[in-house]
């Protein structure tokens, strides 16, 4: 009964989405106010029914209803309840339902928070999002119905969730990532709506910008969590593999980074308009491409739950319609929204253009490396794989190129600035960081390391530039209001994100350069040295878990004769599937992680053991957190809230005008 209720809700949501995609859009061209007014109601309606469907699937998982195919394939009566919950999206069908749920969540948010927008705009935005929902609901209903039953051959117990996915990180990683992925549909819908109306001005950018920043912030957090999960759960201690699935989420992020910056220019100065629209289209298209890559089973990965050519074809066609349709619309309408505002070569616009070019090129090189094997395979030209060396060779120089500009950008002026002023502002930070880079490059390893020196130089340059900017804003100018209030939310957010980026770069370079790693055989009472640390294997034992049994090894870690930690890595055998999983033990701190993982038993009383010393690896994720939260904070800026009340009056006038014209 419960699964059928979910199935029916999903069908109702599909019908409502069809209405949302058609009626308000039609109304916006016919100046039919009643039809346009339906948009928010229909959007909320879709959300409610998708939410009911999602709740029904969740109930099926929690109540161990193994007559439902996905529950039988991905859960087990012994699975801890929290993982039964995350198992809802730990499979193809459920994760697609989560995709739609989050899309409808964004739709509801737009419907509720955009009452100040002109009615034609809001109805078109919601209609475009409704059409996207139609595509994904059809995909879910036609090819991947989560409510399919196994009757009458209902299994007694389930197959269990893939042990790799039985982890707290996986409870929040997919929802956060999807918040970002799907959130990019909002700027996309705004862009399409703007192309339809031909009204693409600063106020359009101001409406679109907070949504874009929030989506991009969630995407940053989702990617960060995925990297963290891979680090401690896959048992190799790697944090980024340039795996096609990682790239699938990274490409929208790179394009989104360009979009976030380009929107700033469009909002403040009214330039880069058609470029911004193009970026919005590409960013969401890359989200869809990512969904295609991950969901179609063309890739070898943890994320590829099932390979089914029919599903791949469906998304490919959908992708072609969305990308083709929006680019066609762009080709037809973009010239009418192009801008003619002048700016100098030495100006903030020009610097942000550098950002845009670098991130667009970075997206393209990652896209090339990701699609190359697929294209070669599709044309039967051989089975290739493109590995991390390619991506590092092309990506690292690009990021090094953009960092010098990151400091100059925020302090420079719009329209026209002078290099003399830049010199005056930044001479001191430049001198200080050059000295520090040389001094600290010996740090940690005792030998000069060029890459670490460069990383400190670039990251420090960004941080010191930002610090000087903050200091200047706090100390100069008129007295009166409390000083911290002079820093707007969008300035604070940008500052945090830039500092976070610097932290990621520094962490990435230091951990790549100074990681120490040993794979070796260890028996009880043996001692292994790694750098300044001694790892002693004290004893081996066994411990039962809820749905697995674990072999444990107890390590005592000491540094200069003092015991600093006891690490207990595990090797788990899951009962239902018989799968074996490595559970690494990590002693974490800001400056270094110590990482122990078990390989396989060798002989009677020894194990293959992997020991790792990873300096500053935490900086990657702390930096990622700063980037994500920084982006979220920008949306709190007062000017976005002020516009809600201020523009209500303007909106009415604009609506009058638009309706008048349409008649």
């Amino acid at each position: 009964m419960i699964p059928e209720l979910g199935h029916v809700s999903l069908i109702i949501a599909f019908v409502l989405a069809l209405g949302l995609g058609a009626v308000p859009l039609w109304g916006s061209f016919r100046a039919n106010v009643a039809a346009m007014n339906l948009a928010p109601t229909l959007a909320v309606g879709v959300s409610v029914f998708v939410a009911i469907a999602f709740a029904m699937l969740t109930i099926s998982f929690l109540s161990d209803d193994f007559s439902v195919a996905v529950v039988a394939a991905n859960s087990n009566s012994l699975l801890p309840p929290i993982f039964k919950f995350s198992a809802v999206w730990g499979n193809h069908e459920g994760s697609l339902l989560l995709w739609v749920l989050i899309l409808s969540g964004w739709m509801t948010a737009v419907a509720c928070l955009s009452s100040a927008l002109p009615l034609t705009m809001i109805s078109r935005v919601l209609s475009v999002m409704g059409l996207i929902a139609v595509g994904f609901l059809a995909f879910s209903l036609l090819t991947s119905n989560p409510f399919e039953r196994l009757l009458p051959n209902t299994p007694l117990d389930g197959n269990d969730l893939n042990p790799l996915l039985q982890d707290p990180g996986l409870i929040i990683h997919p929802p956060l990532l999807y918040m970002g992925y799907v959130g990019l549909s909002v700027p996309f819908a705004f862009a399409i709506a703007a192309l339809l109306s031909g009204r693409l001005d600063a106020s359009w950018a101001r409406w679109s910008r907070p949504w874009t920043n929030v989506a991009w912030g969630f995407l940053s957090l989702g990617i960060m969590l995925g990297s963290w999960w891979a680090y401690y759960e896959l048992g190799w201690g790697g944090w980024w593999f340039w795996d096609p699935v990682e790239n699938a989420s990274f490409m929208p992020w790179l394009m989104g980074t360009a979009l976030v910056h380009s929107l700033a220019v469009t909002e403040k100065r009214g330039v880069f308009r058609s470029w911004t629209v193009l970026l919005a289209i590409f960013a969401f298209s890359l989200s869809l491409l990512g969904t295609f890559l991950v969901r179609s089973g063309v890739l070898t990965s943890v994320h590829a739950f099932a390979a089914d050519p029919e599903r791949g074809l469906f998304i490919l066609i959908f992708l072609a319609i969305v990308v083709g349709g929006s680019l066609l619309l762009y080709a037809l309408r973009a010239p009418s929204v192009a801008s003619r505002v002048n700016y100098g070569l030495v100006s903030r616009e020009a610097l942000l253009m550098v950002n845009n070019l670098v991130f667009a090129v970075a997206t393209i090189v990652v896209l090339l490396g990701t699609l190359f094997p697929l294209v070669m395979d599709a044309f039967s030209l051989g089975k290739y794989s493109v590995g991390p060396p390619y991506f590092n060779a092309v990506f690292v120089p690009l990021m090094a190129l953009v960092m010098p500009f990151m400091t100059v950008g925020p302090i420079s002026r719009w329209r026209e600035d002078s290099t003399r002023r830049w010199m005056h502002e930044l001479l001191v930070p430049a001198a200080v960081i050059s000295v520090l880079a040389v001094l600290f490059s010996w740090f940690g390893s005792g030998a000069f390391n060029l890459w670490v020196a460069l990383a400190i130089l670039l990251a420090g340059w960004v941080v010191l530039g930002v610090a000087r900017d903050v200091w200047r804003r706090l100390t100069q100018g008129a007295q009166g209001a409390p000083r911290w209030r002079r820093l707007s939310a969008s300035f604070i957010g940008m500052t945090l994100a830039h500092v976070g980026f610097a932290a990621v770069v520094l962490g990435a370079v230091v951990v790549s350069q100074h990681t120490e790693e040993r794979d070796l055989r260890m028996a009880v009472d043996e001692v292994a040295e790694l750098g300044e640390y001694r790892f002693a294997l004290k004893r081996l034992s066994q411990a039962p878990g809820p749905n697995y049994v674990a072999d444990q090894a107890v390590f005592e870690v000491s540094h200069s004769g003092r015991v600093i930690a006891t690490l207990i890595p595990e090797k788990r055998r899951y009962l239902a599937s018989g799968q074996v999983m490595t559970e690494a033990a990590i002693e974490a701190s800001l400056w270094r992680d110590l990482y122990v993982a078990l390989g396989e038993p060798i002989g009677a009383d020894a194990w293959a053991v992997r020991l790792q010393y990873k300096p500053m690896v935490r900086w990657l994720w702390l930096g990622g957190l700063l980037i994500g939260f920084g982006a979220l904070i920008t949306a709190l800026d007062r000017r976005y809230r002020a516009q809600l009340s201020r523009s209500a009056a303007v909106t009415a006038a604009v609506d009058e005008q638009v309706l008048g014209l349409a008649r």
Binding site: L357, V394, D519
Partner: protein, 150 residues
């Protein structure tokens, strides 16, 4: 007007320089860093290059895995049921590595025709087979009694 044209020219120049630099980098990086996939039959037939990294995929021959008692050295055979190739690997094998299961090994061939692997990848869950392996095995069935390998 003049400054607008000059600005456009500089922008175009910037785009050209940056994109050609990127294309150069991509071409350079692709040349050295792509690995071609070979099934065991091709390796035994001498079709695989010996001076560069390749990927070898197939099934781990049952009973062929020999682990050293003293170190992490392991030798196992990979088969596509037509031919088998020995793989030498020193290090920790992935959790899902097992005899009779699909595997992809990356490394170089040595003079004896064995693959010295730098990385061994096993599938991510038990119903899943790397697509390359599935393709390599397509149309080839395991003959009864013949286990291939040593």
């Amino acid at each position: 007007m003049h400054s607008v044209r000059k600005q456009r020219l500089i922008l175009v120049a910037l785009v050209v320089v940056l994109s050609s630099a990127a294309i150069g980098l991509v071409a350079f990086a692709l040349r050295d860093n792509i690995n071609l996939f070979y099934p065991p039959a091709d390796v035994v037939a001498g079709k695989a290059p010996v001076d560069r990294n390749i990927r070898l995929g197939g099934m781990v021959v049952e009973g062929s895995v020999v682990r050293s008692e003293e170190s992490l050295d392991t030798v196992f055979w990979v088969t596509d049921y037509e031919a088998s190739v020995p793989v030498k690997y020193s290090g920790i094998l992935p959790d899902l590595f097992a005899e009779g299961e699909g595997v992809v090994a990356e490394g170089r061939l040595d003079e004896t025709g064995a693959l010295v692997a730098t990385q061994v990848l096993a599938k991510h869950d038990e119903n899943y087979m790397p697509p390359e392996v599935a393709a390599a095995l397509q149309g080839k069935t395991m003959p009864a009694g013949d286990r291939g390998g040593p």
